[in-house]
Structure formats: C-alpha cells, structure tokens
C-alpha cells in the first residue's frame, strides 16, 4: 500500500469505529501542484484523502479549540505546531489522534511556475524523485529536491516528533542549515533595509500569512486593534507593512515552528521566511531552544536560565 492508501485505511477505520468524528487531511486540489485541506466525517469521505508532495498547508491551523474528537494527517511541521498548541492550551491532546506522516518535503509551486517561465502547467506526474510538468506546448522534468520549499530543505523534524500512529517509515532528518539567514546577516544594514523594503512593498495586507500561521491565533491581532491604533492600516506604507511583520515575528519568538506556512500563503510572493527563520535561528543560538519539538520543553521566552545571554539588557 502506498501512503495515500494507508492514510485512507487508517482514517476509514477511525471513523467506522467511531474513535473520531472527523479526520482532517488533504484531498486532491483543483489545480496541478495543489492539494487542499479536507475534512472527512464518514468512511466514504475518507476515500478522498490523499498524500503527495503538494500537501503544503499546516493542518494544525484547523485543530485549535475543536469540540469534536478529531484525527489529523500530520507531517513533521504540522506536528511541531500541534505540540506548541497543546502546550499553549489551544488543543486538547485527549481529543486528538495524530496520524503522523514522515515527510520528504513539499514542493513549491511558485518556484516551479517560475522555472517554466510562468507558463500554465496542466499536468504533473510525480515519479518519486522528479516531477514531470506538462503544459500546452512543453514538457519539463524537475528534481523535487530542487524545487522544495526552503523550510523543507533544512527540516530536522520531517518525521513527526509526536504521533498516535505513524504511516510508513521514519525518514532521515535533514541538516539544519541557516545559510540563507547567514547570507542575509552578512549584508550591510542598508542592504538589508533595502531588501526588506522591496519585499514589503508588495504586501497587500490581506493577512494570509497571519491566517495561515497555526501559532497566530490572538482573538484580536494588534494590527486590527482600533483603540489604540498601534499601526497604520494602509498597505502603501511600506514601514507599516514591515512593522506588521516585525511584530508578528517577535510575537512568534520561541513559538515559530519554521513550517513556512506564512510564506506559502502569501499571494504576493513575499519572502517572509527570512524574518521568521532569523528569529528561529536566534532563539536556537541564544537559548538552545526549538519550538514544538517536545511536550516537556518549557517555552523559550517564558523561562530564565542562569546561562541565558543577557548582553541585550542595559
């Protein structure tokens, strides 16, 4: 049985045995290179579940404060977010069954689209290591490894850290690599500013990044607060757009699981991972902490350790 078949079997059994009321997973999307979050409530509906290299959304987003008994088809980063949310009291572990799926990495449809010069891709075949892309008058083969999301390429927790059942074999963890962030850090302040301004110019303040983030769940986001109005609402203010992202990143310090959901959701293609991953890297270096890798670790920013760096204090 392949992963999809195993997922269907497991989901069907859970639903048929009434162990859960709902299985959250993925179904085939309406476009090539797209899958779509899917909510199966009957064994028949579970037949629509799939697994592929396009299951890019972080499903932990759909699990907060769910009243019904729920199972989730979760890859490594989904599970990290779930762990974080359990610790923050947003998910009741007793109500959740995690069907873990070791993840080889998800492919980035935006990169692929660029690779074929923005032409319409009408059909995609996944051969395992490669994708064969077919359009109206072209056919092109790309290595999945080359078009993977940045966060997947360097994911150390691609095998879920917590699960009730694991579908398939654990996959070898990838090397953590913050080369992209180091390269950015090496730029001058002016260059970094210019780059961020260029990216933030694209922002339309649709808040897809915030909405896609499993850890962004404030009932009133500071951006929306009217009194006081912490921040201007106009998308044409590049500074306000940057401020929105900066505060979001700070609020995610020690909580961001580096799943890349924000960047994937951004319709404007803003390189949001740069800011988040910088924070992830800093938290790791400063406090030796990584979010969502164990139920026991105390939250990095809620804990004081004697050896914590204090050189930022006056």
């Amino acid at each position: 049985m392949n992963t999809t078949e195993k997922i269907r079997e497991t989901a069907k059994k859970l639903l048929a045995d009434k162990k859960v009321d709902l299985v959250v997973g993925f179904a085939q999307g309406s476009l090539p290179l797209r899958s779509t979050p899917y909510f199966a409530r009957t064994p028949e509906e579970a037949e629509n579940l799939i697994w592929s290299a396009t299951c890019e959304n972080n499903l932990a987003n759909f699990l907060r404060k769910r009243p019904e008994k729920t199972a989730v088809i979760a890859k490594g980063c989904d599970v990290r977010a779930i762990v974080g949310l359990i610790k923050e009291g947003q998910i009741n572990k007793d109500n959740l069954t995690i069907i873990g799926v070791p993840c080889e990495g998800m492919v980035d449809r935006k990169q692929i689209c660029e690779l074929v010069g923005g032409k319409d891709i009408l059909e995609v075949t996944d051969t395992g290591a490669e994708l064969i892309l077919k359009g109206k008058d072209f056919e092109q083969t790309v290595a999945k490894a080359d078009v993977m999301f940045g966060s997947c390429k360097t994911c150390r927790y691609n095998t879920p850290v917590l699960f009730d059942e694991l579908i398939g074999e654990a996959v070898p963890a990838r090397e953590a690599d913050y080369g992209d962030i180091e390269a950015f850090e090496a730029l001058s302040a002016e260059e970094r500013n210019a780059y961020i301004a260029q990216e933030m110019q694209k922002c339309i303040r649709c808040y897809a990044c915030r909405q896609a983030c499993p850890m962004c769940y404030c009932s009133e986001c500071f951006v929306d607060c009217g009194s006081p109005a912490w921040i201007g609402k106009s998308a044409k203010s590049v500074d306000d757009n940057a401020l929105f992202q900066a505060v979001r990143v700070f609020h995610l310090a020690g909580r961001c699981v580096d799943c890349g959901a924000c960047e994937r959701a951004c319709p404007m293609g803003i390189k949001l991972s740069l800011l988040n991953r910088k924070m992830v890297k800093d938290v790791k270096e400063l406090f030796g902490a990584e979010a969502g890798v164990s139920l026991e670790d105390p939250p990095a920013l809620n804990t004081f350790k004697f050896e914590d760096k204090e050189d930022f204090l006056l």
């Binding site: 476009l31 979050p37 649709c206 609402k233 106009s234 319709p267």
Partner: protein, 334 residues
C-alpha cells in the same frame, strides 16, 4: 486598424508625452499596472496582472482629503485626481470589472468623485487573450477572452501585429488622432478567427443561479463550504469586482487625512458592531456573504453577476478553495 508589435514602444512613448500611460510592467517578480515613462517598460505578454485592474480607479489605499485645523478654522484639500490616463493592455476580464464597479460608485443619490473622476478621465485599451489560463473561466461569466465590454479600444494579437478596433466614441476619437494603418483583409480575418474560436472555461453554468441562491440562505451547504478557509483577504483583495472599503483617519493632533483602504467581508471585524454584536460572526456567514454578494445580491441590485471569471481567487487562495467547485456544487444541489 493595425499596428506592428515593434511599433508599440514608440506609440506608447507618443501617448506618454500627452497622457499618463498605465501599462503592465514586471516589477519584483510580479506583473503590475504602473505608470510608464517609456514604451519599453510595458510587458504585453502577460497572462494577467497580480493585482486586478480595479486598483487603477480604486487604489488599495487612497488619501481622499487632507485637513488642517488651526486658529483660523478648518482647511481641506481634496485629492480628486483628474489626470488624463490611458490604460494600455488591460485584459477583458478587468475591463469588464470596471463596468460592474461603475454600478457601485454611482448610485441614484451619490457619486464617488474619486472613482468617477478617474473613470471619466481614463481610456481603456483592452487586450484579448489568445491563451487563457487554466484558471480562467471568463467564458462562463458573460465575459470572455475577447469580450470588448469596458474597453474603449481593443487589441487582438495576430502574431507580428495587433489588430486595433475602436469600440467607444472616446476610443475612436483617439484612434483617429493616431493615424494607424488600416488592417488588411487577412489581418482582420485572423483577428476575427481568434475572437470567435478562443474560449476560456465556459462550463460553469450560472443560469438560474441567482434565483436558486435566493432560496438557499439557510441551506446546510454553507455549513461546510468555508471549513478550510483561513479567513484572509487574498481572494477579495485580488478580485477585480470586490469593492468593499474602510475609511479611516491618519492624523497627528488635528491635522491629517481621510484614507480609504480596501477592506474585506472575510474579516470578522468588518461587521463587528460597537456593542460587540457581530451579525456575521463566523466563517460560514462570511463565506456565504462573499458568494451570495457576487451571485445573488449584486444580481438583484444591479442585474449583473459580480464575477468576471479572471481566476485570481483560485490562483491565490492559500488553501485552494475553488469558487468554480463551489458553483458546481450549488448547481448539483436539489
């Protein structure tokens, strides 16, 4: 009339000397409408712009007026923009969306001077789509890859040249001044063939849809449609017909400006009353609103569907919530 493609930059240069010319340009990896200084900047080989054409007349953020208050009283500076503008190379879906938006910004009592002043001073040069994208479904939405509704002048790409048609009086007047060559029979035939044959997805049947939706407000269909929706505004902001906006003041002390920003029915705050009561309190109510507004409320009010089938909401939805599927599902309901 006809113009060779290699003559387009010099034509645009000529126009730019007299008008503000907005054309699709490539910027930061996106194709956007922008004011061009030189004809070379225009990129006419694009599928569609990332942001819809509505932003030319109805920008995402707009300072309506500025004000200062001092001992002498209140002074206001109104920012109505009457610049004569030519939009060159707008796709038919976006051109049609402007016709739909006209309904909104001018009603029986009020006129939105900011939109209408731009509208009245803007000439649209439409550009037909020889290769509609897989997400395009304009042919289903009383539009189509060669729909001329909303265009003042219309271009059809026949390979080395564009066949140029004057559509409105305004368009014909401009063409008369440009002195383009007449198109030969062969060119006209090639254009006619494209216009007749090229279709986007036309399989979405919206006949009777508005009436059906009219009786569906309480239908259980809405219970699940929104389930995967994240509640962002990618679909609405990038929609050429979505027109909801917010009005806010940006000010220091008593001096500032009244700003209008795009807003979206997908945000819970959009309808939240001061009392805390929210008439559309959940994703279900908000998605129902979005779909109903386009395919029922707008139809009842203006006798037109508020969708042109540009496919931007499909392309840009982070969770692939496909409006075509939703419409097909509604059609399939008893």
């Amino acid at each position: 009339m006809i113009i060779n493609k290699n003559e387009i930059p010099s034509l645009l240069d000529k126009l730019a000397a007299e008008y503000r010319v907005m054309a699709p340009v490539k910027k930061n990896g996106l194709v956007e409408f922008a004011a061009i200084k030189s004809g070379e900047e225009a990129c006419l080989t694009y599928a569609n712009t990332k942001k819809p054409g509505k932003e030319i007349l109805f920008p995402q953020s707009e300072e309506l007026f500025n004000y200062t208050v001092d001992a002498e009283g209140v002074r206001m500076q109104d920012n109505v923009d009457p610049t004569s503008t030519i939009v060159f190379g707008m796709r038919p879906c976006d051109a049609k969306s402007l016709v739909l938006l006209d309904n909104v910004f001018k009603n029986d009592q009020y006129e939105d001077v900011y939109y209408l002043t731009r509208r009245n001073n803007t000439l649209i040069v439409g550009l037909g789509c020889n290769e509609p994208a897989a997400t395009c479904f304009c042919s289903s939405m009383a539009c189509g890859p060669f729909s001329k509704e909303g265009s003042d002048i219309f271009l059809t790409d026949i390979g080395e040249a564009y066949v140029v048609e004057g559509i409105s009086e305004k368009g014909k007047e401009l063409l008369a001044k440009l002195g383009l060559a007449e198109a030969g029979a062969e060119a006209r035939a090639a254009a006619a063939k494209l216009q007749q044959e090229v279709k986007a997805d036309g399989t979405i049947n919206i006949e009777g849809l508005s009436d059906k939706l009219g009786g569906m407000f309480e239908h259980p269909f809405w219970d699940r449609l929104h389930e995967k929706c994240l509640g962002c505004a990618a679909c609405t902001y990038l929609c050429p017909t979505c027109h909801c906006f917010d009005i806010a003041d940006e000010a220091k002390d008593c001096n500032g400006c009244r700003v209008r920003n795009w807003d979206a029915c997908m945000f819970p705050l959009f309808t939240l009353h001061g009392s805390g009561h929210n008439p559309r309190p959940n994703g279900k109510a908000r998605w129902r609103q979005r779909l109903m507004h386009k395919f029922n409320y707008f139809v009842e009010r203006y006798n037109a569907t508020a969708c042109v089938g540009c496919g931007r909401c499909i392309k840009n939805c982070p969770v692939n919530l496909d409006i075509r599927q939703a419409l097909a599902d509604i059609r399939a309901l008893d």
